[in-house]
Symmetry: C2
Subunit: 250 residues, 2 copies
């Protein structure tokens, strides 16, 4: 049977289709540590567990469009602010039992936002909480990622995540690590103007390792993506650092 035969014989009502959702890993920084936005589930299944914000994909919107809608409706982003967040598709999860209610395939997205926007979303939306991410392994290779409540600085009890959201979270961190060095994802977590130290802190927080300062500085500056603003950081009790802007050369 060819695809066409199949299509002509295909009765949308006769064959149940998997439901399709998008789930978003909304990543940002809290006091320099990587964090994600989570909502605590109030209903079964997985009541009490923490879930990534998501939504069903409507027939009249693209996957990217659905992700943007979640950003607006569930993370409280103004339409103009949505455009300023870095968004990318992560992976599509399709295990049969990933949701006990019905067959749901979900397209996972990674959204990155600067610290200020992250805090704003957190303040505006009542249902949202920030969970700090523990990145307990070194290197790019995967491993179980753990999320901790903001009120648990000792990291005593990891949050229990709903569905397969722990795997999605782990993949998000892994993707971030892999892209950190050759892409511009780190800048998506920083404000418009930032110091080289802030940039290095972001890299170190995501990689989970310390980096050599002169080598890091050299690599970043040699890449040609950083434009010095001429301004300097304020509020330090020591020599203030130069503020840079991110701009990819054409």
């Amino acid at each position: 049977m060819t695809e066409d035969d199949f299509l002509r014989a295909y009765d949308p009502a006769a064959f149940p289709r998997p439901a399709l959702t998008v789930d978003l890993v909304l990543m940002g920084l809290r006091a320099g540590r990587p964090a994600v936005l989570l909502t605590q589930r109030t209903q079964h299944p997985h009541a009490g567990r923490w879930a990534l914000p998501g939504s069903f994909v409507r027939p009249d919107e693209t996957l990217d469009g659905a992700a943007e809608r979640v950003l607006r409706e569930k993370a409280g982003f103004a339409p103009a602010a949505v455009a300023d967040t870095h968004r990318e598709q992560l992976y599509t999860f399709g295990a049969l039992d990933r949701d006990p209610r019905m067959r749901i395939v979900t397209v996972a997205y990674l959204a990155l936002m600067p610290e200020a926007a992250f805090a704003r979303a957190l303040a505006q939306e009542a249902g949202l909480s920030a969970a700090l991410l523990a990145v307990p392994w070194a290197g790019e290779a995967g491993g179980p990622v753990a999320a901790f409540a903001a009120g648990d600085p000792d990291r005593a009890t990891p949050l229990r995540l709903a569905f397969d959201h722990a795997a999605i979270l782990a993949l998000a961190v892994q993707r971030m690590r892999g892209k950190l060095d050759y892409s511009d994802v780190a800048f998506a977590l920083l404000p418009e103007a930032f110091t080289l130290r802030q940039l290095q802190d972001v890299h170190e927080a995501i990689l989970g390792t310390a980096l050599n300062k002169p080598a890091f500085r050299r690599r970043m500056l040699d890449r040609g993506w950083l434009v010095p603003t001429g301004a300097r950081e304020a509020g330090t009790s020591f020599r203030p650092a130069e503020l840079y802007r991110f701009q990819k050369p054409l």
Copy 2:
């Protein structure tokens, strides 16, 4: 409205869901050049154009399972042979107008197979053709990828691809290029035993550039993934090269 409210109010019959398919980029080598398996469409829409083999995702199979089924049913792979192919999810395409018949979201997969398996699939399945890939740009960055019929060695007229399959193909090549250096994808295109020259040929074909021989050899051997078999290639009129096996150390 929370996700749970939505779910409880959600009537599968009332809200049309997007249809979900998988499409496979079945990549292999033909005479040392990268090639993909395509089927020529006989029905509208896009009759006469060339399409990637694919299928609807059934409610009782995972996405990976659907991809494996396509490999068996449409590419003529024996169940045992399916396990030997490298498979990975590429990206999920969800543009509203990507299929004129109805809203179809497709999860694209990349499948890599050695030259022999590629030729076998081609011989067994009547509807399949091999299209040679032209990789007209250098580096990892994207660009339009062109496919040419096997009977068109001069590459005069590129094949017209159906739907958004040209974009899927381009992404597959781009992914291959990006992973070539740090992953084992190149070995998935080679037979069990191969020479360093063959390995370099695969790299050069996919990257579209010539590589320095001593440097390439040094990098590959230093990585520790190559085990010399002790055997040597046969059929040459000159010094035969050592045959290696791929084996990742634990």
